[in-house]
Amino acid sequence: MAERSFAREVELLRLTAGEEFRGEGILAVTKALLQSGVAYVAGYQGAPVSHLMDVLADAGEILDELGVRFESSASEATAAATLAASINYPLRGAVTWKSTVGTNVASDALGNLASSGVKGGALIILGEDYGEGASIMQERTHAFAMKSQIWLLDPRPRLDSIVTAVQQGFELSEASNTPVMLMLRIRACHLYGSFIASDNRRPPFTAADALAAPQRDPSRIILPPYTYEQEREKTEQRWPAAVRFIKERKLNEFIDGPESELGIVLQGGLYNGVLRALELLGLADGFGASRLPLYVLNATYPLVEEEFVRFAAGKRALLIVEEGQPEHIEQAANQFLRRDDLQTKVLGKGPFPMAGEYTGPVLKEGIRAFLEEFGPRLLNPVTEQPLLPAAQLASAVPERPSGLCTGCPERPLFSSLKLLQKEVGPMHVSADIGCHSFASLEPFNLGASILGYGLGSAAASALHTRGSKRPLSIMGDGGFWHNGLTSGISNAVFNEHDGVTIIVDNGYAAATGGQWIPSSEADAPRRTARLSIADAVRGVGVRWVRSLNTYDMKDTLKILREAMSTREKGPKVIVAQGECQLNRERRTRPLLNRLRKTGKRVARKHYGVDADTCTGDHSCIRLSGCPSLTVKPNPDPLRRAPVAAVDYDCVGCGVCGEVAHAAVLCPSFYHAELVDNPGAIERFMQGLRRVLIGFLQRRSQRKRAMAW
């Protein structure tokens, strides 16, 4: 990771047997990997698994000691392909990314990996970005597991359960020669808890061993006739082996309860939520004892038919608690019971909604609905208080969408685009994934579609006709290196596309936490960075390439105008540069503090708005959207609209002043320069100015006072 240090977290990775680990779920996974003798780890950052990558990137020393290879992969496809090392060698490997978006990117490699099968344990750790706070389209990873025959673990959200699942995942993978997915929901990744650590294990077999004695087995290659054989192997050998492992090692849990006529089948990841819902309904205690029998699926694929049938036998009805759609587990359950001719009713979607996260209230209401039909005597009469405030507050509480940070270098770019639209009229803007996605929200409202990471340019491919207004695509530097260079830029060169692509070059994978990327400017340990985006673009044949500094809006507008109108054929690429402010602050703040303390001159700017000349129209806010540019009550008793104001978080980036100039807005903006440790001459001049100008000011003040 870039500017933030994970030294404290790295120390957690050194804990030895018997010591207590206290920290986040995703860090527990990281520790569990080292405890499992993993030989290599790779992945692509993204919430909620970024910290796994960040911490390992800072843990070079530990990884060296253990002989573990770690890569920040170029994409999820690269990460998935990395698992190829486990096809021929008994190497345990783990990869991670955000799902389902990352799984989509990786699926080519994953499908082939699953067909070849693995010798060493291959674990795919997925941060399931579903439900509240998710930043991607809503899909399930479950379907990938089914289509490729990859096993799927969904452990209870407790740190020790998660750590155990990592260990079991490797073993399951090896026992069934199949890669295994370990799925963790967002909250489980960010869950703070504890578990008792074990010692880290050096991998018994290493990459060096593999390279010293290379192995090759034609039957593992994805070509006919082996592919047919591999599919047969999947269903006839690997699947039964996995089911056997899950059964024998008791991955799934049966929790008995006195109400044996009914039962709940649940994904392990929803265990805590279900138990809390039962507790609130008076059907469980706070320690996991439930009146209804529970069947907890810590392995959600493959399902174990025999276990299902055993659990369902003698029950009137089962409730399947399965988040997301389609309802794969419910469908399978129905099939199992039909095959075994059990008459137990199966309910799932119905009491529960088909779409959306199973939040606390959804779980409680779903179980209540199930019991109203099958066990009304178990329900207490509803005594809950009416939840009054919702209606009263509906109109009072405004939405608070995410936006670009204070000082973000992307803000002046989008302000410039807004101004450009005033000149040339509305444009088709193809947006991309990254912080710049927020430009599609208020106040910029730019962007007609988002098709995937790095696909901003590709998504404008069809919109190309000679002589019409050019489509504009946005792409982040992260997306560019991920795939945009080929999927977007060289595709546009090859097909003589005439559109304009802006590559937002802020120096980091900013939206995922500020990780290094190939074009990062700083000295990244163990990485080769500082690659030039402009050179790369020229290298694939783009002739019209311009770089600009986004804070210089005048220049930005000039280049944008030129891009929209130039006679040059082929794609027009603008590299819009400006370092991510969050990371810049992390980088420079300690430096400036040190200078300040040692008595060196340090100047900083702070912007402001004169309340007595601001008339409260807020054009500036609509053009910039800076969180620090806010409003306050109008000090003028004759005016009603609040005036614009700059708050104390201002970092002095200067965009509001630039916007006021570029849009010819109003004369209310000013900036003040504050200097720590000014020099003697500077101090003297300032004193002189104060005296002289102060004299003039007092004179006119007196005059004004005399008029009243």
């Binding site: 206290r22 703070y192 606390g360 509480v397 608070r400 000013y670 720590d676």
Partner: protein, 528 residues
């Protein structure tokens, strides 16, 4: 645990915060304090991109370790709050408290709500063309009615006062509320152990604790002053007593010729215009209001007069170059800048420079010249083109000699203001507006009041000014059509709201079209 309770319970705490407010640090402090006090502690959150200035929720559960040992089992702790099942909710911003209540997390039977009363306005509120701020008072009222106990204080102000971060104050407020299952000392210890910016964080923590404890003890102090601060001031404080004989004469005119209910606003108007130009100009202001007064009556509380007096004072003190330069060079303004920029956190630093951002257009340059010069310059394309060279963004260091003198020179152009091109234009518009009001008042008083209020559309500079003016004109031109409708006054009110609804003018055009439906020939052309 609360004494006397037999069965240990899970303590549930939700933190409603904004991305960037340090909710993660606060959560870690609470976890450490809880664990040090003998609790099993769990926390979750949904950060990710929501962190970027959006609303975020952290959720914590604590269970006494001794209780778990006695039961011989671990408690099952949940990862998200259940409506109606939360003991303590803390919101580090007022609307986030509202959002937490909307989610049903605050209930009368058990929830203590600790809320900061300050506002971080949302982009929707800030973007409005006029006043788009949400109603804080509603949220506070609902909070008082919904929470078992409300502890409300301005945490942001305390953080600023101690040059610390809001998370320290929030932790202090939680400790001071007495609603945590562990001691304030444990919280303080957690801050100490984290070791960064210790002094300031501890001072902010202590301030939050003391304020919350006082608020908790005295429920009457809970009606925090924040809402009053937020509401735009309609408070007409009287102007200072005049010393100058001519100013005295003007104030005397107000008390002798005008109703006392409007005295304050008229006083402000006169004071403003003496400051803006001179006594004669302020006298003209009063003269212009006399015909309006004639049409008004005490029975109507002189609503029209008040509204016209307010708008006229603003219109007659239109912001031209001289006015802007004058205001920017005043000593009081320098002092205000100094206070504003050095009031925040971070290091003090000495103020070394004030740089103003001006971007005059040809219109402003010609407008500030005498009419005989400005009008032809403005008309001829050649001179316009020459003047273009002097337009565009200018940065002027107003606190340095050159910048100050340049600004003062611009301010001095007010000596010929009344014969300037801009003044001729504004003066004509003002007279037209006043004539219209005087004409409307006897026939439709309500309509006249609404038209008087339309002055607020004409504000700002450059494009903003032109947009507002053109919408004002469109309304005025639609009047004949509207007057044939059933309720022209509400039609004008509706149009005014639409004119402030969006910058592009979509809603305004739609409203115009809707209201002129029956009289298609009357719709003004090119109204944007």
């Amino acid at each position: 645990m609360v004494e006397g309770e037999t069965q240990p319970r899970v303590f549930k705490l939700a933190i409603a915060a904004l991305g960037g407010q340090g909710g993660g640090v606060l959560t870690q402090w609470l976890l450490n304090a809880a664990e040090a006090s003998g609790f099993i502690a769990q926390a979750t959150s949904v950060p990710g991109v929501a962190q970027r200035t959006g609303a975020t929720l952290y959720y914590l559960e604590f269970f006494p370790r001794a209780g778990a040992e006695a039961a011989g089992a671990d408690p099952v702790l949940a990862l998200m709050p259940q409506p109606g099942d939360v003991d303590l909710v803390v919101a580090s911003e007022l609307m986030e408290a509202g959002r937490a209540m909307q989610r049903g997390l605050v209930t009368r039977d058990r929830t203590t709500l600790v809320a900061s009363t300050h506002r971080v306005f949302t982009i929707g509120e800030k973007s409005a063309l006029g006043d788009g701020l949400a109603d804080s008072e509603t949220v506070l009222q609902v909070a008082r009615a919904t929470a078992r106990r409300l502890v409300a204080l301005d945490m942001e102000a305390l953080a600023r006062e101690h040059r610390s971060v809001i998370s320290s104050v929030v932790l202090g407020a939680l400790a001071g509320s007495g609603a945590l299952p562990f001691s304030g000392e444990a919280c303080e210890q957690a801050i100490r152990a984290s070791g960064r910016a210790l002094e300031r964080n501890l001072a902010a923590f202590e301030a939050g604790r003391a304020r919350a404890a006082a608020t908790a003890a005295d429920p009457s102090s809970q009606s925090a002053p924040a809402p009053a601060e937020i509401a735009s001031g309609e408070a007409f404080d009287p102007v200072p007593a005049p010393q100058n004989p001519r100013a005295k004469a003007l104030m005397a005119r107000i008390s002798s010729e005008f109703p006392s209910t409007c005295a304050n606003v008229l006083g402000i108007g006169v004071h403003r215009l003496v400051d803006y130009q001179n006594h004669a100009y302020a006298g003209l202001y009063l003269d212009r209001l006399l015909p309006i007064l004639e049409q008004d009556s005490a029975a109507r509380q002189h609503t029209l007069l008040g509204e016209t007096a307010r708008g006229l004072a603003l219109w007659m003190s239109y912001e031209d170059t001289a006015r802007v330069a004058d205001l920017k060079t005043r000593a009081a303004r320098f002092a205000r800048v100094r206070a504003e920029v050095s009031g925040g956190g971070g290091s003090g630093g000495e103020l070394m420079r004030i740089v103003d951002y001006l971007s005059p257009r040809v219109e402003e340059i010609c407008g500030s010249l005498p009419t005989w010069l400005g009008a032809p310059l403005m008309k001829w394309s050649l001179t316009r083109r020459i003047l273009q060279a002097f337009t565009g963004g200018r940065k002027i260091s107003t606190d340095r000699f050159r910048g100050y003198l340049l600004m003062r020179a611009m301010a001095r152009t007010r000596v010929w203001r009344l014969s300037s091109l801009r003044h001729r234009e504004e003066d004509a518009r003002i007279r037209e507006w006043l004539d219209l009001l005087a004409e409307l008042a006897p026939r439709d008083y309500g309509l006249a009041v609404e038209m008087a209020a339309c002055q607020q559309l004409v504000k700002g500079y450059g494009e903003t000014f032109e947009r507002g003016l053109s919408r004002y004109r469109a309304i005025a031109e639609t009047l004949p059509a509207l007057k044939r409708g059933a309720d022209p006054a509400s039609a004008v009110r509706e149009l005014r709201a639409a004119a402030l609804a969006d910058e592009e003018g979509g809603e305004f055009a739609a409203a115009l079209a809707r209201l002129c439906e029956n009289h298609p020939g009357d719709a003004p052309q090119n109204a944007t």
